[in-house]
């Protein structure tokens, strides 16, 4: 009987080894999930791809720098950012920005973008040019407020554009004491 068992199992494992099943089963998930050492040509290709990615990133950086210097020189540059804290009292749908009564941006937000804002991301909503002097910015925020009601609020900023770049941040904050969202406009120095 013992001999029969051994002979049968030996036959079985010979078959399994031949087709590679046994290795996978006996060593289980470890062998199956651990990476096979990549072939040499993979590493060579991988190295070249890494270099290519690095070159592409540097090219993108240089092109973005060129684009900004060409289109938005610092002497006339104005950038409008949007930020949000907590985000429990206001569910942002859209923001409209007017500069000197001209609409420069109408932006509808995706869920993913709103989540990125709530996590601490700051969106650069608008990048443009303005002459030196006095200007007016009006931002209109649309979304759902407390108790899921439609909510639309505006915020205004009168500011002076100098020959330095001007950064303006539209802040959406939850004011717990009032249980209302608050919309502020901050000038970065």
């Amino acid at each position: 009987m013992r001999e029969t068992v051994s002979a049968t199992l030996r036959y079985f494992f010979r078959c399994l080894s031949a087709i590679g099943i046994f290795t996978a089963l006996a060593t289980g998930a470890i062998a199956a999930e651990a990476p096979k050492a990549p072939a040499k040509d993979f590493q060579s290709l991988d190295t070249r791809i890494q270099t290519l990615k690095q070159d592409a990133m540097e090219l993108n950086r240089d092109l973005l720098v060129l684009e900004e210097e060409l289109l938005f020189p610092s002497s006339t540059q104005v950038a409008v950012f949007v930020s949000m804290d907590i985000g429990t009292l206001f569910d942002l749908d859209a923001v409209q920005v007017k500069l000197d009564n001209n609409i420069v941006s109408n932006y509808l937000y995706t869920d993913r973008e709103v989540k990125a804002l709530v996590r601490g991301g700051v969106q650069r909503l608008y990048l443009g040019n303005l002459k030196t002097g006095k200007h007016e910015l009006v931002a209109v925020f649309t979304g759902k407020g407390p108790r899921w009601r439609d909510y639309r609020r505006g915020a205004t900023l009168n500011f002076e554009k100098t020959t330095n770049p001007k950064y303006i941040e539209l802040q959406i904050k939850d004011t717990e004491s009032k249980q209302q969202p608050e919309f502020r406009v901050k000038e970065w120095q």
Binding site: L9, G20, E33, D41, L52, D55, R119
Partner: protein
């Protein structure tokens, strides 16, 4: 896509995915306070997992020195994102630089851990070991258990089972890594010779109330591994209870049925072995266990002496193998034609390239049925990720090609506008005659100084007052010509009185008028300075603007050349990568084909044996 294929992929990726996803939340709270808006912009892209945009935005902000409050964090984030983008070498350099610059131990240890993980997953095993050895402290949260599991994997690959066991013994059982850790530990113990301890651990896992498909699949795997360990040690009776625990339709069910048949066969119960094997033989022949069962069924009939059924079974198997070989040949041909990679990319869209992208759906093509295991492997996933990154780069560079053309046109328009406007502006400047204005200003300044010095209130008199003074002067002269002495005296007195009143008024108003005049002069000076500034700006513009046009044109030309160079490289390497992936797939299918050919040989040999025995039996009876 068949559910079983999804399951194979999900299970095989469980280790990698869970590890990768743990990376993002680690950043979320600690980086909340944004002191530079451009840093927040980087985070905005980062939190959306748009790593390429986040990286290039970060690099651009660093170029303009816009992150003064977040220098170190930005570098740490850049390192993390380079890891996310698969650039572990460059990420390593950043982490090394942070470490050299005295980063906090917690940051340093986490940096080395991520580095070890990515290197391991990319197959750079020696480098992964080196990074792992640099971790000195305990990592936060689940990362510590993840580290121990990863470390154990590395040790096991080197055959250092005892050390792998020691590493895994320290892993907490509470974390999501516990199940994988227990499984790995169990297998490691058996491999290291401590079978009883390994069996105990795997048995616990095999009885576990699994939460979700992934854990249920792992439980099945533990039971199958245990059963095969007992089959290997020629104690088939102990294997059976574990195989009975495996779900009939789970990922491991085919292998369990195959093992159950062999268990009965080993216990000399071929008639009972036929039950699982016959069930298995009805399933899709793409699975290697099913292919094996096609041989096992006639083998069992042979053991039972049912040679007719055995012969029929082998012939069925041969027919099935023949169909399978034909399908494999067609699939190999299809892959060589080059459609596989494109189909996979089309079925697995994503926003941007990056670490979190994984193949989750197989294309609905004939060759896909064979490739589930290959597609779930690290080598193929990494290769696909690289290919997808290359596709993204090709699109990205393509967009810049268009932008670059737009900038060139825009610059040409600006140059033309400048050329047209310059003569008009120059003419306006000439009309303004700033030299004449400068001379007039000097004269006024001198006059004002004299007035102040001499306290010449009359010089600041209004038009009306000057007219009055002129009238009084005429009156004085007229009074002198009067012949009547009394009348003359009266007139002169009146004139003196009026002149006195005028002088009094002028003297009273003098300080204010002087101040007004000086103020006016200052305003004029300011306007004059402004005019001079404009003139200097205009002079500078005459030189600088054409130079800046030239500089921008040169920069754009330089960028164009880099864009073209990269475009060619991306296209070339993409082709190579596609070929490499196709070869991986073809190798896998060829390997499968060779196995089936081996089965065919065995089946034919068995058929020949049956015929031989039949002939011998016939000869005996004659």
């Amino acid at each position: 896509m068949p559910r079983v294929v999804e399951n194979i992929i999900r299970l095989s990726l469980a280790l990698g995915c869970a590890a990768a996803l743990s990376m993002a939340p680690a950043h979320s709270r600690e980086l909340r306070e944004v002191k530079d808006p451009h840093y927040g912009e980087v985070l905005f892209h980062f939190y959306q997992q748009n790593y390429f945009s986040a990286l290039t935005t970060l690099m651009t902000a660093q170029h303009f020195e816009r992150l003064p409050h977040h220098n170190d964090e930005a570098e740490l984030l850049r390192g993390g994102m380079l890891l996310s983008y698969g650039l572990h070498r460059q990420a390593g350099e950043i982490f090394q630089a942070l470490i050299d610059a005295g980063a906090a131990p917690a940051v340093r240890d986490r940096a080395w851990f991520y580095l070890a993980k990515i290197r391991h997953q990319r197959g750079y095993l020696a480098e992964a070991e080196e990074a792992m050895s640099r971790i000195q402290g305990r990592l936060p949260g689940d990362l510590e258990d993840e580290r121990r599991v990863l470390h154990a994997l590395m040790l096991q690959r080197e055959g250092r089972h005892a050390e792998a066991v020691a590493a895994l013994r320290q892993a907490s059982l509470r974390s999501s890594w516990a199940a994988y850790g227990r499984y790995n530990l169990g297998v490691a113990l058996i491999q290291a010779g401590d079978r009883d301890a390994g069996v105990t651990l795997l048995d616990e896992l095999g009885r576990d109330r699994a939460r979700g498909e992934e854990m249920a699949a792992l439980r099945d795997k533990a039971n199958v591994a245990l059963a095969f360990a007992f089959l290997q040690s020629e104690t088939p009776a102990r294997a059976k209870p574990y195989l009975d625990r495996v779900r009939m339709n789970g990922l491991m069910s085919n292998k369990a049925l195959l093992g159950l048949g062999w268990t009965h066969a080993a216990l000399n119960q071929p008639e009972r072995a036929l039950v699982p094997w016959s069930e298995l033989a009805q399933r899709a022949t793409v699975d290697t266990a099913v292919q094996e069962s096609l041989l096992a069924v006639p083998f069992a009939y042979g053991k039972l002496g049912a040679h007719k059924q055995s012969l029929a079974g082998y012939e069925l198997a041969l027919a099935a193998y023949s169909r399978e070989i034909e399908r494999l040949d067609q699939s190999i041909e299809a892959i060589r034609r080059g459609s596989l990679v494109e189909n996979i990319i089309r079925n697995n869209p994503g926003d941007e390239s990056g670490w979190f992208w994984r193949i989750s759906r197989l294309p609905d093509t004939p060759e896909s049925r064979y490739l589930a295991e290959l597609l779930a492997s690290h080598a193929f996933q990494e290769g696909m990720k690289n290919y997808r990154d290359l596709r993204f780069l090709a699109d990205n560079i393509g967009r810049w090609t268009q932008q670059s053309a737009i900038y060139r046109d825009m610059l040409a328009t600006r140059r033309q506008g400048y050329t047209e406007r310059l003569p008009r502006v120059t003419a306006g400047e000439h009309a303004l005659d700033i030299e004449r204005l400068r001379a007039a200003r000097t004269k006024y300044v001198e006059e004002l100084e004299r007035i102040e010095r001499e306290e010449d209130a009359g010089a600041l008199a209004s038009d009306k007052e000057q007219a009055l003074a002129a009238r009084l002067e005429r009156l004085r002269r007229g009074a002198g010509t009067l012949t009547d002495a009394e009348q003359r005296a009266q007139m002169q007195e009146k004139q003196r009185l009026l002149s006195g009143l005028l002088n009094w008024d002028l003297s009273a108003k003098y300080p204010e008028r002087l101040w007004q005049a000086q103020k006016g002069m200052k305003e004029a000076d300011s306007a004059f300075t402004e005019a001079e500034k404009h003139r200097f700006a205009l002079d500078a513009a005459r030189t600088d603007v054409p130079e800046s046009f030239g500089a921008f044109e040169n920069r754009i030309a330089g960028m164009d050349s880099r864009i073209r160079g990269l475009q060619t490289q991306v296209a070339d390497i993409s082709r190579e990568q596609e070929n490499y992936l196709a070869e991986l797939a073809v190798d896998e299918l060829t390997h499968r084909r060779e196995n089936i050919v081996a089965y065919v040989t065995q089946a034919r040999f068995a058929v020949a044996q049956i015929y031989d025995e039949a002939v011998r039996a016939k000869e005996k009876t004659q």
